[in-house]
């Protein structure tokens, strides 16, 4: 509980749902990092070092998703049917998206390093596809935006479910605001991904739709600022009466 002093953790012992989810996260992360790098000579270590930032970015994303998942289950201890269903979808998306995520971070890292990345847009020799690299980029933007909507949509609905059950969970005023904070953070992420898809649909330019994601830091900063302010006000009024007496 020292990890989260303002929120009473309703999840008591670690449940099997959480242990199972942790298992899937741990295996997905480890396979992503370990199994792709076949280290058979020192040269491979050098390539590993070169591509480390791409690995790190994928890892950071997965750990962020894990952390949100972990905090949700520790805080609310929900195990109702809806939570289990959303959790199952969430885990499926995490597993499905791990490798495409590393492909994306590798692609971005190659862009920065100036390593040619057209190999990533190639097709197997026995497949004839009449699509240009530009069309591939367009499809990929749709795919990754949809993935963001999927993963954070799951977290969004988990928190929405907790808000619905606020009386059953006996959330106090501060806990309610903290739940709303998480909810609006995930809403911001999902909304920006949807906007990115709309921009792509309207302009047909994958570059512009990528630029939309630069709104992310600002949106999260503003969401955080608003709710931190609200939380501080509640904490202030909560401690005041005690000081008066």
């Amino acid at each position: 509980p020292t990890a989260d002093p303002d929120f009473r953790w309703r999840g008591g012992e670690v449940s099997r749902v959480e242990a199972f989810s942790d298992g899937i996260f741990a295996i997905t992360v480890t396979l992503l990092i370990v199994s792709t790098a076949s280290i058979e000579r020192f040269y491979d270590v050098w390539i590993l070092v070169r591509d480390l930032p791409a690995f790190l970015l994928s890892f950071a994303f997965l750990m962020y998703a894990w952390f949100e998942h972990h905090r949700f289950f520790r805080r609310y201890g929900l195990q109702d049917g809806l939570t289990l269903l959303i959790n199952t979808m969430f885990l499926f998306l995490i597993m499905i998206l791990a490798y495409p995520l590393k492909l994306l971070t590798t692609f971005l890292w190659y862009l920065i390093l100036g390593i040619p990345s057209n190999q990533l847009f190639s097709t197997p020799p026995d497949v004839v596809l009449n699509i240009t690299e530009f069309m591939q980029r367009t499809y990929m933007m749709y795919f990754y935006s949809a993935a963001v909507v999927g993963v954070f949509g799951c977290l969004l609905f988990m928190h929405l479910n907790a808000l619905w059950k606020k009386q059953q969970l006996e959330l106090d005023e501060l806990e309610l605001v903290m739940t709303q904070k998480s909810y609006f953070h995930h809403l911001a992420t999902v909304t920006i991904a949807v906007i990115s898809m709309l921009v792509l649909w309207l302009t047909k330019l994958p570059g512009w739709s990528g630029v939309v994601y630069f709104m992310m830091p600002l949106a999260h900063f503003l969401t955080g600022l608003y709710f931190e302010f609200k939380m501080n006000r509640i904490k202030a009024t909560a401690t005041e009466p005690q000081n008066n007496q």
Copy 2:
């Protein structure tokens, strides 16, 4: 416990048997999803998206088996020798069947998409087999029906064991009916798989034996209806006296 309000969970802390089973489930599921899809270029992501329903179906089946396993151990907390033995067989079947299951769901999905699937019935170049595709389909129907009998037969015997131990477990009237409900659901599944094998044996037509599985929703709907009715009647009589006073 909010996950299962009518049933007192006898399984206290998560036991090592459960943790070990969860580990095997988590690894099997993750390897199934992650390791088969080697994502090295964006084209592979496209194939992944195309085959997503096949993945999802395998995943849903495994998660359903996990959920039944999880609920059984949480509800009854049984750790006797028989339960451990059945559990070990159950885990072995889950591991053995994971990849054949994905092959089946891929095959069914290719049928729907209209992608030619005769490659799935091929043999390695160095093997000469005098069996036709039709015979292969026949054998496969036997295999998958036997697999269903194996997996759900394990769950069936686990619940039968709980019914035998009903006094030791101190099951109340409602809990007894809920245990019977689970038992009869698994019995329905096993029975239909056996009927499918019988139909195949009599008609020699794999198509007809596949059609038998369409009885599944009806059988489970009727089983559910009967026991839900029984459960509601018990709940009604259980709360009545309290209202009278």
Copy 3:
């Protein structure tokens, strides 16, 4: 505790050492079963079915080792430095031996099926070895006997450690006999493996050294018989006084 009614389980909550060991067991078992069978067409399912007994035998062996490990930690709850060291060696051996074990069970199964197994005694094309298949069989018998000594020697020393600490663990008379029973079972296994190695060293005949293992059932039956008798006598005297009063 219903799993082991005569023995008070000193291991309370599942410790991290146990959880870590379970993780290693679960992954080793799953990789053994899942990753070796690449199922890409229905023909591969057929091969999987054919080799199922070999899989099952490896799996049964690993599950037996897990079960002994599980019971030791649940019963004694030991976490001293010596136990941790032996446990680490035990896990290392389990991981190292998993694949050689499956090779052995496959070999034995091919013998039974009459499938030629000289391919299992081949060498890679770029390696020139002046050893005959007979010498390979000899080395292999040494290897597998040493493996048995290693794995069951670890379990032997774990139980010896528990016997040394009998006062600290407050083992009652029955529990002491049950600990001795486990100890002598593992001693029987190790002794037979050592005898097999001695026979091989003296006769130079791998066949004869394999035959030594047929002593296993008898040795364990006699060990079990002796200690079951002792346990029953203790139980009888333990309940007698209560009946008198």
Copy 4:
């Protein structure tokens, strides 16, 4: 608690952070040992036996890191943001370094066996690199020293954080000294790795920088000696007053 009699374990139930970390450790270790050795004929078992010491050394290193991690979380039960961040970096490094570590231990073992190891310094056929084997050795020394700094730097900062929070954790005098002991052990490891890098930078001789690591046993012996002495003095004064009364 019998594992660590002088230190009150503040970590109660195993947290999800620990379970998740254990999962990553277990998978990394198992993949390292299991997946690299493809055992398809008895000849492969022979190679496995030959390379066993290299496996064992990698395994021992990873288990040592796990043990330090395990003890830290059991002893202090810290779950603050800083600990989670350092832990995440620590896990990332463990995953990244597992295979390079086995490469290094294999290389060292080949040196001892006299097996030519220039294959480990080769480059793929499609890559032209104008670096000599000597330069590769230099880079590798930097890499492995940096890895040591990374892994043990994480453990260093974890313990530093515990020292900062000594009042909140209510460490008694003995526990404080034991925490300092762990801290200085990790500091010694990090310092020697840094010295090795400096020696390499100054002399440009990878051999000399490797020799620096032979200081390791002496440094740890002296650190241990100093703190064991301090711990014994505290234990003596702690028991004295009780004897006087």
